[in-house]
Amino acid sequence: MGAEGAALIGMGLCAAGFFGAALGIAYIFAKTIETVGRQPNAEARVAKYCWIGFALVEAIALYALVIAFIIMP
């Protein structure tokens, strides 16, 4: 296995890092929906934090993608 093959395998392993980000985003939106269900007039305030949290969690997934691009052969 040359360096190029190993780099391709490494890129595939980087894609496994997206799993945690998917769980994180699902958790954020689940909690937002639950909060809106408990108190519907809190929706505006909670929605703002929901989108901020979503962007921050998605950023972690994209850090993994950046590493995949760095090791691309």
């Binding site: 190029e4 901020i52 962007a55 950023a59 994209l62 993608l65 052969p73």
Partner: protein
């Protein structure tokens, strides 16, 4: 990050991020040529400037017309962000800077979605310079406002005295991580979006007609998602700028 070697006959999906010079200009050995990135930045500036000039050209009246109320909604949005994190009196000094950051990043993100155009915020140098500039600005604001007492930002409130030598290196690392994460977040989101679009379009073009419509439909959906991501990422960049400036001003 070279394009693919002998393994694939097509260029890599990252090839449309390469910068090509339109008018080569070289002054004293420094490459100042007009490239696609420079033209895209000019278009971003022209869009923001033209939009607000158009709104103001009809005159500003206490009873707002439709265009003026759009501008008022946008500016109130930025003003609420600034007031929440920096405070009302201090926020007046930083409102125009934060507004500029928000509208410029939003315009550059959206201009890149036009087919054939170039997204400058998908280059790490551009977002890195934005984020490093903002970080240095917060340091200058903190030292100018508080002097040497600004270093107390590294010690969170309510920490027992014995833990301070342990906390300070951790806080320094988290401070240095701020411009890095700010720039990489915007860069990675824009690059990933455009790369996914490039890969899907390639699949839609090279697949036979009876299956090529499925990736094409997916591309339409992803394009809509990219517009939403452009807005969200500009908003996140601006709100983190406000948080960092607010940290430097309020020291906790």
């Amino acid at each position: 990050m070279a394009s693919d070697s002998h393994a694939a006959e097509h260029t890599s999906p990252l090839h449309h991020f390469e910068v090509h010079n339109v008018i080569p200009i070289e002054i004293a050995g420094i490459d100042l040529s007009i490239s696609q990135a420079v033209i895209a930045m000019w278009i971003g500036i022209a869009v923001v400037f033209g939009l607000f000039m158009l709104i103001v050209s009809r005159g500003v009246s206490p009873v707002p017309s439709k265009l003026q109320s759009i501008a008022e909604v946008l500016l109130e949005f930025v003003r609420d962000m600034v007031n929440e994190f920096i405070g009302k009196e201090e926020g007046k000094k930083y409102f125009s800077f934060v507004g500029t950051v928000f509208f410029f990043v939003l315009a550059c993100n959206l201009v890149g979605l036009i087919p054939g155009s170039y997204t400058i915020t998908s280059q790490l140098v551009v977002t890195g310079v934005f984020a490093t500039g903002i970080f240095l600005m917060t340091l200058v604001i903190g030292f100018a406002k508080h002097g040497a007492h600004f270093l107390s930002i590294l010690v969170p409130p309510g920490v027992p005295k014995i833990m301070i030598p342990v906390m300070v290196p951790i806080e320094i690392i988290s401070m240095i991580a701020r411009p890095i994460s700010l720039s990489v977040r915007l860069f990675a989101n824009m690059t990933a979006g455009h790369t996914v679009l490039a890969v899907l379009f390639g699949l839609a073009m090279t697949a036979p007609g009876w299956i090529g419509w499925a990736p094409f439909g997916f591309t339409v959906v992803i394009n809509g998602l990219e517009i939403a991501i452009a807005f969200i990422q500009a908003y996140i960049f601006t709100i983190l700028t406000c948080v960092y400036i607010g940290d430097a001003v309020k020291l906790h």
